[in-house]
Amino acid sequence: MATLAERNGRVELTGSRIRDRRLLIGMKQSALAEAAGISPSYLNLIEHNRRRIGGKLLIELARALGVEPGVLSDGADATIHDTLQAAANGLGEGGRGGPETDRIDDLAARFPGWTALIAQQRKRIGDLEAAVEGLRDRLAHDPVLAEAMHEVLSSAAAIRSTADILVREADLDPAWRGRFHRNLHEEAERLSRRATALLGHFEAPDARGETLSATPVETAEALFDANDHHFPAIETGGGAAIPAILDQSAGMEDAASRVMAERMLTRYAEDAARLPLSSLLPEAHAAGFDPSALLSLGGGDVALVLRRLATLPREEPAPAFGLAVCDASGALLFRRRLMAFSIPRFGPGCPLWPLYAALARPGQPDMTILETPAASRFRAWSVAQPVSQTGFGSAPVMQATMLISPVEAGDGAAIPIGPGCSLCPRTGCRARR
């Protein structure tokens, strides 16, 4: 039978287990104390987790309660105690004497909820440190990245040396001057290409074909990427197919990643139910997969149409679609990446993306041509809509959706955008942070 602590998802302490077991078999505290050869008051302290026990006494109590000692102790106190000790050790020599490690048992007994929180945060910190270490290792040892960095810095070195000569050598022979000007231009062009390639390397899956997933969102997105953002089982079986998909996917042993992936797949299932492929595909074929001609589908839910176009089966003769969804704070909630259109792994995207402009005009779809720093062009359809029911006087929760698809380069007007300020080479951009 699950105890209250177990039902609340907390790690139960040995004393609590002893008390639960004793009550379960209807044994009085005094009788158990006598059987174990201790006083009832001492047993009371143990049952309320005011005293740690082990060894011979634990064996005696277990025998009296008719269970194996491990049932009372395995994974309980030791886990909590060791985790808190590790958390304290992780602080090093802190000021003001640091945590009172000799009172861990008291802390765990009096504040089991806070104790569990400290333990969870300790684990989270450990996971994040491992992720940071992995990224740092990649920066230090990834041969492709090292070569890309070398090329960028070599271009910078050539430009610096050449520019210095042109500025400081007043009597420079005209032939040499022309030569250095050409070198400068050539190296600037090369630097542009190399920097773009370097950014692409940060965005691409690593050389082992895996994605360095640092967050639950990234792990969930990796699941979508691995399936080309299309789930036939959900298309035909609805949300009932989700548990099997999660069970068969990498990274889902992490609870937070599984919750995030389940949330994303549930939305996928809801979208598929509202706008099934059997309704979408005939219309999309007739419209040449042009979102502008499909806005009336799905009951006029434009964001739904944009999301569904980003989940078409690979065999469909549709253009490549990427997708970005953000909330009203600008936080990216979902990404389907396209080659040459960089969407940052962390942090916000480019403030000039129509994704963000859409938030200023809810319910008004827009189509824009965008141009990346590498001169690649994309058509972007965007809209912002409420995602929850609202009552009178309460503000709706808004999300913006942007569908992107590559277009041929042209001379027409296009909005110059980038991958987000932290990665963007457009140093003169008016929107740069």
């Binding site: 960095m149 070398h150 070599s154 910078a156 070195a157 040396s161 000569i165 030569r179 250095f180 070198n183």
Partner: protein
């Protein structure tokens, strides 16, 4: 007679720029762009100072430096290593292999000239150069 300096660097525009600068500083400058034939070129040219890029096509500057230090004829050749990495590990490796100085790209022309002059004079490169490190040899 001008002292001879050999630049082993595969980036043609860097080679041209620093070659020009060192020529103005009175050096007879020769350039070479391939890692796999660099050792033979060093033997042939017999420079007074070698400026050696770390990441070269065919063979790394570290490997070339290791071979130089094993050969009696080049064991004492002053070597300035150029790298784009600049990490502590690279500096330590360069020093352990016997580099005499170390510059991280992108360096300034003044840093380069000052470091080469220091090597020519048999002095430790100036700390003001910022990135250079004294090696063994």
């Amino acid at each position: 007679m001008a002292k001879r300096i050999l630049l082993v660097e595969d980036e043609a525009n860097i080679l041209e720029a620093i070659g020009f600068i060192l020529s103005r500083d009175g050096w007879e400058v020769l350039g070479h762009g391939k890692g796999e034939t660099a050792l033979a070129e060093i033997e042939r040219v017999d420079p007074d100072i070698l400026v050696l890029d770390v990441m070269l096509p065919g063979r790394s500057g570290f490997d070339i430096l290791r071979d130089l230090r094993e050969r009696p004829t080049t064991r004492a050749l002053p070597v300035l290593l150029l790298t784009a990495k600049g990490q502590t590990r690279d500096r330590e490796q360069a020093m352990a292999l016997g580099a005499n100085a170390f510059l991280t790209k992108p360096f300034s022309n003044d840093e380069l000239v000052a470091t080469v002059r220091s090597l020519a004079d048999g002095r430790a490169p100036s700390a003001a150069a910022g990135h250079d490190r004294r090696g063994g040899a």
